[in-house]
């Protein structure tokens, strides 16, 4: 399996790089040696970016697994945009390196990435169809390929009659749809979406969410930059949390939640509250129909429910309370 991946990488590099230099050869071998990268669409390795006296990104490392929906989180000014601009080759790191699909970023990398920036826009005077053709060609597609790909999206969104409309004649929401098509029309390996749902109404939000899921199911890796935590929980399976230019938290969503949980269990019951509440565990919260306990370890949950049953109360619901990402975010950033 690993060998097959390596071969694929070499093949891709040989096909993509028309002019190979010694540098590229080193690069190819580097790619082969870093076995890890075979399963990573993106690998950020000790990256630093400094603007003047200001260190925007300070020795950040993390990996984005292939096929992941990856949340890039952080408060405003944390360095998310600086990081994205390096991934999209708009700027280059001052030190460290970034591998896209095991290959160090090069002039062919932008064609494999679809990027929807937070600050986004289109040429207002251009016709929708021409505009999408233009952007697709700038991503390395031939005119013919660009035409077919654009047409497919027009059919999918049932907007065939928009082809000759000027962008400025479309509503804000319609423009966002076009912007989304422009981001994905060239079939990128990696999609980077910076606050993708701002300015979208609930209907279009759902539509774009479904599209993102479908693209993800088709194998496209997605980096999702946001500070809307409910979206992170809904969409992402992996996250990295950046604060003040540093990587402060990184990993799978489920394991991070486990890591940050306080072993809180909530028992909901019917009827009156029991008179003798088990005192082995700390009672954290009392509601008329529910009690929340803090356990020393989560493997004590059976013990808790056994004791509860002994009080004679009828239990209707028993659940572990996991921290929301909002709480994790605030806790980590404030630490």
């Amino acid at each position: 399996m690993v060998v097959r991946f390596k071969l694929q990488i070499i093949q891709e590099i040989l096909l993509a790089e028309k002019q190979r230099s010694f540098n590229d050869v080193v690069l190819i071998f580097g790619a082969i040696l870093s076995a890890n990268s075979n399963f990573m669409i993106l690998s950020i390795q000790d990256v630093v970016k400094i603007y003047g006296n200001y260190t925007a990104v300070n020795h950040v490392s993390f990996d984005v697994p292939k096929g992941a929906v990856f949340g890039l989180l952080g408060p405003n000014g944390a360095g998310k945009t600086s990081l994205i601009r390096m991934i999209t080759t708009i700027t280059a790191p001052d030190s460290g390196q970034i591998l896209l699909d095991g290959v160090r970023l090069n002039s062919y990398s932008p064609d494999q990435i679809g990027y929807m920036p937070e600050e986004r826009g289109l040429y207002k005077k251009m016709k929708v169809g021409e505009h999408l053709l233009y952007l697709a060609q700038l991503k390395g597609m031939t005119q013919h390929q660009a035409f077919n790909a654009t047409n497919q999206w027009f059919e999918k969104f049932q907007i065939g009659d928009w082809w000759n409309k000027k962008v400025e004649d479309l509503s804000k929401g319609m423009q966002q749809k076009i912007q989304f098509i422009a981001t994905v029309v060239h079939q990128p390996k990696l999609l980077i979406l910076d606050e993708p749902f701002t300015g979208l109404d609930p209907i279009n939000t759902t539509l774009i969410k479904d599209e993102i899921r479908q693209l993800n199911e088709a194998g496209i890796s997605i980096i999702f930059s946001t500070h809307r935590m409910e979206q992170v929980e809904e969409m992402c399976d992996h996250i990295v949390l950046i604060n003040k230019g540093r990587n402060v938290l990184c990993g799978e969503v489920s394991s991070i939640k486990n890591q940050y949980k306080d072993n809180l269990f909530r028992i909901e019951f019917a009827g009156n509250a029991p008179e003798n509440i088990p005192d082995r565990f700390v009672l954290k919260n009392r509601e008329p129909q529910a009690l929340t306990f803090q356990l020393d370890h989560d493997d004590q949950s059976n013990e808790l429910i056994r004791q509860m049953l002994q009080t004679g109360v009828r239990v209707v619901k028993f659940e572990e309370i996991l921290p929301t990402f909002n709480e994790i975010f605030i806790r980590t950033v404030n630490e």
Partner: protein, 450 residues
């Protein structure tokens, strides 16, 4: 097609297919045509209608004057000045010209009087003066020939000799300058300098506006994730430059057509009335044969210009100047925020050398195209694209070829340098949204790493 090619194609086509470009390009020569017609109309137009002026001749030399210039002369006959004045009051006449008797035939001055309640237009008054002076001259000549029969007007007129300078170069073989050389040089050089200034300003600013638009539209970050900033900037400069060249070519084509049509448009105009405002003196009109000769000499002078050299150098200077200024305008455009108002303070330093070059040509160049100031300005790359094409029209290529060559090398190298420099500013500025940018700040951007 390379990404740069795709950008150039879009930048070019999106402008050329714009309705405003098509209308503007077609209307400009039409506007010029209308302007020409208005000028022609104005020279034919006789202000204030025809004046009826009585001629009261007391000198006995004037008799009848030919009408013209909107004045009809009427013989006063036996009427006295008082009678005529009452006719003016009664609006039967517009004015009276009274020519008093000469104190003696030797007197060199004569004051004549014009009685009217309305002012006489300067053009009409000088015409009356000239016509009467001519009659007095004839009268004096007549009196002289009575004293001494061998003197007559024809002989007196031989005293007037028309002298004109025909410059001849000493070492030149075919550089036989004529009296037209300077004039033709001025016209050719002036037109080239003007086109240069116009195109650099217009299309340079077009690039700037387009850069600003991309920034305020927020499309630029989308673009930056597909192409390098330098490619986008260069694509824009090339695209807009192509539009400029297209426009000039269309104008040359249309201009050629208009020039061919011009004789038909001017057909109805009396050539003497065209000539009159420019030569108010009573210079006799050259006869047709002489005119033909002058025309041939003018053509010969135009033919003497080294058009191959002029054309090639002009194109290089045009491209060099355009690249220098368009890239500077692009850099400034990238540095600006959403506030269009502050743009002026950043644009001004770029406009100054353009205006300076134009002033140098207009004031120093016209007096001496090869003065020290002109030589310096034709080397300095920010002024040379305007100043050197003007100087080229006066060039003695055999001696001054090194100046032209040096200037060309400097302008091409500078174009290269300024495009590179602006690229460094552009790539930073285009992604920054700052309230107010200083030149110090822009200076720092040049040294940022990629």
């Amino acid at each position: 097609m390379s990404k740069l090619g795709i950008i150039v194609k879009r930048e070019y086509l999106s402008r050329v297919t714009k309705r405003s470009f098509i209308i503007g390009t077609l209307m400009a020569p039409l506007g010029f045509l209308i302007y020409m017609l208005v000028i022609v109309g104005l020279t034919k137009y006789e202000s204030g209608g025809e004046l009826k002026v009585a001629l009261l001749d007391e000198s006995g030399m004037v008799n009848q004057l030919p009408d013209g210039k909107g004045i009809r002369f009427i013989q006063a006959g036996t009427k006295s000045l008082e009678q005529l004045k009452s006719e003016v009051t009664a609006k039967q006449l517009d004015g009276i010209v009274q020519v008093p008797k000469l104190s003696s035939l030797q007197s060199k001055t004569l004051t004549i009087f014009y009685y009217s309640d309305n002012k006489l237009a300067p053009e009409k008054s000088s015409m009356i003066e000239q016509k009467i002076a001519k009659r007095i001259r004839e009268g004096k000549a007549g009196a002289m020939s009575q004293e001494c029969p061998s003197i007559n007007l024809a002989r007196i007129e031989t005293l007037d000799t028309k002298v004109s300078i025909d410059p001849e170069s000493i070492n030149g073989k075919d550089d036989n300058d004529s009296k037209y050389t300077a004039g033709v040089g001025l016209a050719v050089g002036g037109i080239m300098a003007f086109i240069m200034m116009f195109m650099v300003m217009m299309y340079g600013q077009m690039v700037m506006r387009s850069v600003m638009e991309e920034k305020t539209n927020r499309i630029v970050e989308v673009m930056m994730s597909s192409v390098r900033p330098f490619e986008l900037m260069l694509g824009k400069i090339l695209g807009a430059g192509g539009v400029g060249l297209t426009q000039v070519l269309i104008w040359i084509f249309l201009g050629g057509g208009i020039t061919l049509l011009l004789p038909f448009i001017m057909g109805g105009v009396d050539p003497s009335s065209m000539q009159a405002p420019m030569t108010p003196g009573d210079v006799p009109m050259p006869d047709a044969e002489q005119m033909e000769g002058e025309g041939l000499r003018l053509m010969a002078e135009l033919g003497k210009q080294n058009w191959m050299m002029l054309g090639t150098a002009f194109v290089i200077f045009f491209l060099g100047g355009y690249f220098i200024y368009a890239s500077l305008f692009a850099a400034i455009g990238s540095a600006m925020g959403d506030d269009m108002g502050e743009s002026q303070s950043l644009v001004l330093p770029i406009m100054i050398p353009i205006l300076l070059a134009t002033y140098i040509v207009a004031f120093a160049g016209v007096r001496n195209p090869h003065s020290g100031l002109m030589i310096a300005a034709s080397m300095f790359p920010l002024t040379s694209p305007i100043v050197m094409p003007f100087r080229m029209a006066f060039f003695n290529l055999r001696e001054d070829w090194w100046q032209l060559a040096l200037s060309l090398i400097i302008v091409v190298a500078s174009a290269w340098f300024f495009v590179w420099l602006s690229g460094r500013i552009y790539r930073v500025g285009i992604l920054l949204y700052v309230k107010k940018v200083s030149f110090k700040e822009i200076g720092k951007w040049m040294f940022y790493k990629g």
